[in-house]
Symmetry: C2
Subunit: 601 residues, 2 copies
């Protein structure tokens, strides 16, 4: 054993490749619009495709080309990958993988069925979702619900290696996709509702050995920060920045999990991701800013070392996890090209930052209903620079434990949750699937026990009052002006990932089950089709045999659909979502299907 391990390590030393900008196979994939090689289409996370066979003029003729049932019910998030002539389809727990032969009408080349202890289902906060596979170098990376990270031979489905990232008995689970950068695969962890201490971890793609782990909270060395070099809004974070922002040891069970999307700038060699809510949801139990929960983090993927942080919601009182995708786009500001990062946060503010420095450029509400804060202080000289200005009426901390704070907008699931937005370089606009939901929130004292829910608040949710009555909007956003360009009201939250294409069409799915296509300029609806079940998957596109296809996974679930997915009926169950989305059961039932569309021949 000892010798074998030594041999492995020795092998590692000689196999270090000359570092390219990123992973060559991933770069090749994102540069070939015929493939869909990453969950968000590219490292920049724009979910944009250069394919333009399907246009705003012909998208109305779209037809269903073929379909595939995954054999699993409950929430289907993420999207399949398309590499060459093979489509890789994942499922929610038990996280099966199918390799489908696109040359043979979707014949199943191989399937991988993990063996997982079903107990993990009990400690997944928001349905048994999984946001999809990653691909690099003939390898499919699967990150199971039980946190087992598996490298599968893309041609055979054989396991190359597997490694365990967390411990479900402590509430550590996984729902996120992973990101491959050069020879590392970077993975997060879920469990903010179980007091899990969040971290990001890099494993070697060759053998699964751990390279680095960066905690979201705790001592500097465990967070991989440099008190002088790591900055927050241009200022060094200083020593013990996290420890100083918590009372006692609360940071050890303080959340800041990393269950969202990671994007990457190969030139700056920085990854970007966000951290989730501080635990518990009862703010009185954790005085302080609770750093670095609710934070956008920019890190070096090779070492894990943090370059800059931006904490969007210090001392969260509403469960506004800061994990949403950070879209990386370059735009001219005042005559100068800037490397930007755009983030549609749960808290209802859309942020535009300089992604090199972490400078805050824009912070505006992207739903007018947002009321918990008046604005974000944009004055660099101010003591509260970069902080949302909380409205006392909606402060669950100020109102105190066992008091029901009513009418907070947005609800805990935010103005946007996991559903990725998209960006079209042709229009320069961001297209954002949003929630238009408010809540009542009553915090209560809770004690920690490993593997037990550590929530400490009772919620109810309802459509934003005095509005169109629905629970969602699909909007187009100008990230420089900080302005909504147009907004399409939806009956339910838009919980699906959107896709913009060079055909000037934007696609998204709805919780009732529609796939919709709208004009990227005007938002006019051009096509709709009722898929088998509610859509919380991300719309994707690929080309095969000269033909463009658009696809999406159906399968109601996720937090919004947890009532249907888990069979809950008590209004405050599902962390308050059951009552809010009760009407969903009038429209759809559980599913798990891929629907693929194309133009007629």
């Amino acid at each position: 054993m000892r010798n074998a391990t030594l041999g492995l390590l020795a092998g590692l030393l000689v196999s270090v490749a000359v570092p390219a900008m990123a992973n060559d196979s991933v770069l090749a994939g994102q540069d070939d619009p015929k493939q869909w090689s990453m969950q968000l289409s590219n490292y920049a996370g724009t979910s944009y495709s250069e394919l333009d066979q399907i246009t705003k003029d012909n998208v109305g003729d779209l037809q269903v080309a073929w379909t595939f049932s995954t054999g699993v019910l409950r929430g289907h998030e993420g999207s399949p990958l398309v590499i060459g002539n093979v489509m890789y389809v994942h499922t929610p727990f038990p996280n099966m993988v199918y390799a489908l032969d696109l040359n043979e009408d979707g014949k199943i080349l191989w399937r991988y069925v993990p063996e997982q202890n079903p107990d993990v289902i009990g400690v997944m906060c928001c349905d048994t979702v999984y946001r999809g596979l990653a691909y690099a170098d003939e390898t499919i990376f699967l990150h199971q619900a039980d946190t087992t990270l598996v490298a599968l031979d893309a041609n055979t489905g054989d396991v190359k290696w597997s490694v365990v990232n967390g411990d479900p008995s402590k509430g550590e689970t996984n729902t996120a996709t992973v990101t491959v950068i050069r020879d590392k695969v970077i993975v997060g962890i879920s469990g903010g509702e179980y007091g899990v201490r969040g971290h990001m971890t890099a494993y070697n793609t060759a053998d699964g050995s751990m390279v680095w782990r960066a905690y979201s909270t705790g001592p500097d060395d465990e967070m991989l920060v440099d008190p002088e070099a790591t900055t927050h809004l241009g200022t060094p974070i200083g020593a013990d920045s996290s420890l100083n922002s918590w009372e006692g040891d609360q940071w050890q069970i303080g959340g800041g999990t990393t269950w969202g999307w990671t994007t990457y700038d190969p030139e700056l060699n920085l990854i970007y991701y966000g951290t989730g809510n501080p635990s518990t949801w009862n703010p009185s139990q954790r005085p302080g800013d609770n750093k670095w929960s609710m934070t956008i983090m920019a890190r070096d993927p090779d070492t894990g070392m943090a370059k800059w942080f931006y904490q969007k919601t210090p001392h969260d009182e509403w469960d506004y996890d800061g994990v949403n995708e950070n879209l990386l786009v370059d735009k001219e500001i005042d005559g100068e090209m800037r490397k930007l990062l755009v983030n549609f946060d749960r808290n209802g503010f859309a942020y535009t930052l300089d992604r090199e420095t972490g400078e805050l450029l824009v912070a505006e509400k992207y739903d007018p209903a947002v009321n918990w804060a008046t604005h974000v202080d944009m004055d660099p000289e101010s003591e509260t620079y970069g902080r949302p200005q909380v409205v006392a009426e909606y402060s669950t901390e100020q109102n105190g434990e066992d008091v029901n704070t009513t009418g907070i907008c947005p609800a805990a699931l935010g103005t946007k949750d996991q559903q990725p937005s998209t960006y079209s370089p042709k229009t320069g606009l961001f297209y954002v699937p949003t929630n238009h939901v408010c809540m009542d929130y009553e915090p209560f004292r809770v004690s920690y026990a490993a593997g037990q829910p550590y929530v400490g608040a009772t919620l109810s949710m309802f459509p934003a009052p005095n509005s169109h009555g629905g629970m969602g909007n699909f909007i187009a956003w100008d990230a420089l002006e900080g302005e909504i360009k147009w907004s399409l009201p939806e009956q339910f939250s838009v919980w699906s990932g959107a896709l913009a294409t060079a055909g000037d069409v934007v696609f998204y799915g709805t919780l009732e089950g529609y796939l919709k296509a709208v004009d990227a300029e005007t938002g006019d609806e051009l096509y709709r089709f009722k898929t088998p079940s509610g859509v919380i998957g991300n719309v994707f596109t690929y080309e095969h045999d000269g033909k463009q296809y658009v696809g999406v996974l159906s399968g109601i679930g996720g937090w919004a659909g947890i009532g249907l997915a888990a069979g809950l009926t008590n209004a405050t169950d599902g962390l308050g979502a059951v009552g809010g989305y009760a009407a969903l059961s009038d429209y759809t039932a559980l599913g798990g299907q891929l629907t693929v569309f194309s133009l007629p021949n």
Copy 2:
């Protein structure tokens, strides 16, 4: 309690309606091709539709119009019903019912979710299938797996009454649809693999009270036969016809279950259905003809009294249940119009009988591979009149217990199983989804214990040798000539019900998941579409808002798909089907979806 019961009975006495020809609402439904008001389209069981908007010339343009996930996996047999603007969709266990509003894109008007003890799954021989709902007089009739018969208000889904027909702890279950005739709902029972003694039972549609029960085996009075008036091939069956054909009390655990389809001739006022295999599958344990297993029965629906029987496979040695649908058509023979009954039996013979008298007119193999019998003796003077002439080599009884009889064709699941055939009055042809599968069969001694499998044979299945390599054919059949007109080879058994329409198109589904449309004259393939999962449901059609739709349930399962459905991998599991259909897992995964097609606008 006593008074309440009396009141009920008194109510019954006064509420007897003037007997119409059949149930008026059912007749109205079958006469309106816009609706799909019965599982097999009409009382005659022809699964034919007069709708002709979709024709052989335009069916190639078919598109998916909308889809619906049932929220249940495993085998989906039968079809939804369409009554007015509402579609009623059923599921396999737990036998949910959805009422979908066709005016509102399939919005769910109501859903009914029965509470059933899941133990029943363990005593269902051939997957948790359910062959669909019945409708009459604003009432939906649901016959659950656990044999609870429920009458639901078609407008609200409220339970009007329910009654229990059998005892799952003894292996009594249900998979069949029910048939409403006037004020009675007629229901069968499953469990031939558990030694269940089969019966047909009529309940009052008004309150669920039992009207009559006719056992398939046993004493004359329990079978509702008249030894003089009930005939077999023109001859009175005589006293104790069943008892005399069994050794001792074996008939009490002797099968003859009634899990197939019931058809009805309103003019003759006769229902037609078949009885299943005698128990056990080890023929040496039950000497005799085992009457009246494997028998077509013609009965008066008002009294249950039998008019005639025809036993197709006396003393079964292969599990060739005789329950397949009896299609009722009128045809000219020798210048005279005859009321015919056509039956494609599991044993590989297609029978044409006079349905008034039970006279046997034609009995020919509808798959040339059939080898267990040379022919059916058609000589009325012969001692073996009407009996298949068994080939000794393939007689599992003659070869004896613990001897593996090899190469028997068809396999136990027959040349056709539950999948209903269709008849087009325009072509005069029958279109039959068939199996092209053979088997090895090794009987062994088994003892009976209530609720335990009572099978007594080990099987393996394989494609018919020296043929096209596939396991199925879709054929057109001339029932007067007893001849195949054309035959389309299929890789797997065609386990879906077929639909013929006035548009000269015949539709069927495949186990890989295709919906196929073929030319009714020539069999040329005109259209195919890959639905989400393997198809074992029946294709159906309806018209809404002036537009013809064709639909089918996907969801791999049934006996052929039991390996996938129940997650079995041992080749001889699933009564031998697991090995035979192992390749199915290369094509499809579990599902439960409705796909509805229409022509483009």
